[in-house]
Symmetry: C2
Subunit: 210 residues, 2 copies
C-alpha cells in the first residue's frame, strides 16, 4: 500500500485529485514523449501547481525537484497509492447500458481494474454473454464471486434495491452505485454513490448565469 510518509489519511478531496492525476497520466503516458512537468499536469487538471506538489509530497514526492516526471513511472506510483499494483475485480449488477458503458471503457483495465462478469435476474443458467462479458445467473452467483475474488459490486440497474440485497446475501460488502437512486447502506456495508448530475449541474449554473 501507499508510501504515505506522514501516515495520516488523505481527505476525500485529496483522493479525488490524486484520482484525477492518475486518469490524466493514463492518457498522456501513452504518447511518444512520456515526460510531463508538474506545471503542465496541474494545468491540464485545472489545479494550482502548488496544490499538485503538495498532494504528491504527501506520498514522498515522486521524482526529483526541478525535473519533469516520467508519466509512466508516476502512473505506477499513483496506482500503488490506490493499492492497484494488485488487480481489482468487479461484478456488474444488471445487464444495462450502464454495464455496457463500463465494459467498453478503456480506462478500467489500464488502471488494473477488471470486470469479471455481469449478473442479471433474466440470465439463464447456461453460458451466456453480455457485451462480450460473462453473463451470470443468480443461482451461480456465490460460487462465481468466490472463484473470481470479486471485491466490489457495481449496481448498474435503474432499480438498485433488489440487486443490492442479492449481492449482500452472496457475501459482497462494498458497492459502487451507478443507479440514479441513492441507497442507504445497511450496517457494515460501504456504498459509494455516483451521481452524474453533480458534474452536469454546476456547468448548467455557469451557463444560465452567463
Amino acid at each position: 500500500m501507499p508510501k504515505n510518509i506522514f501516515n495520516i489519511t488523505p481527505s476525500p478531496l485529496t483522493l479525488r485529485r490524486l484520482a484525477k492525476y492518475l486518469c490524466l497520466l493514463n492518457q498522456f503516458s501513452q504518447g511518444e514523449n512520456p515526460e510531463i512537468s508538474s506545471a503542465k499536469l496541474a494545468k491540464i487538471a485545472n489545479i494550482k501547481p502548488s496544490q499538485l506538489r503538495q498532494d504528491f509530497h504527501y506520498f514522498g514526492g515522486f521524482g526529483k525537484p526541478g525535473h519533469p516526471y516520467d508519466a509512466n513511472l508516476l502512473k505506477e506510483e499513483l496506482l500503488k497509492v490506490f493499492g492497484l499494483e494488485k488487480p481489482l475485480h468487479l461484478l456488474l449488477a444488471g445487464a444495462t447500458p450502464w454495464a455496457a458503458t463500463l465494459i467498453q471503457c478503456p480506462s478500467l483495465p489500464s488502471l488494473n481494474v477488471h470486470i469479471k462478469g455481469v449478473v442479471d435476474f433474466t440470465a439463464g443458467t447456461i453460458d451466456d454473454e453480455f457485451s462480450n462479458c460473462p453473463l451470470i445467473s443468480t443461482s451461480n452467483l456465490a460460487e462465481f464471486i468466490e472463484r473470481n475474488q470479486i471485491s466490489v459490486g457495481v449496481i448498474c440497474a435503474n432499480e438498485p434495491e433488489t440487486y443490492l440485497r442479492l449481492l449482500i446475501e452472496k457475501g459482497l460488502t462494498v458497492f459502487w452505485n451507478l443507479s440514479p437512486k441513492h441507497l442507504i447502506p445497511p450496517l457494515g456495508i460501504r456504498i459509494q454513490q455516483e451521481s452524474l448530475m453533480c458534474g452536469l449541474l454546476p456547468m448548467v449554473y455557469e451557463l444560465r448565469k452567463s
Copy 2:
C-alpha cells in the same frame, strides 16, 4: 436566476453539494410524505447539518427555521438556483452505451433536462432512432441544433475529438465530456470533464488500506 442574496459566485464545491441535495430531493419528493428536515437531508447526503444550512442560507434560506422543508418546494427552489425553471436541451454525440445510459436515466427529465437527439457519424439521412430517441445525421445537424435550441453537447463516444470538432463547427460552445479522454478546450469553448474513476478510486483506496 437564483435569489443569491449575497451576490457572490458560489464555489464549485458549494455547487456540487447543492446538486447533491437536488438529486436526493428528486428521489425523496416522490414519497408519500414530502417533508424532510435539514438534519435528515444532511445525513442522507453525508454532509454536516451546519454545512447544509450554510449552503441554503447563501440563497436566502428556503423555508422557516425549526420547520422541516417541503421536499417539493425545496426541489423547485434548488432548480431555480441552477436556472432549471426553464428546460435545458442536450444533444448527445455518439450512439453508444453512454448515450443509452443517459436516455434511460430518469433523473434528467425530472430536473427539466431533456435529450433532444443523438448525432452519429454512421446515421443515415432518413428518420431513424436510437433507444427511442431521434438519431441525427451530420448533414442535418446545424438545422437540428437551431430548431431544438440545443445548449449543451454531450460527448458519449470513446474517441471524442472528431465529435467535438463537428459540434463546434455547427455552433455549440458548451460540452459535457463523458468520454474517457480528457479534452483541451479551444478558446471560447467550455468543456466539463466527467471521470467516473474519480468516484471509484477513492473507494478502492479505503478498501485496500483496510
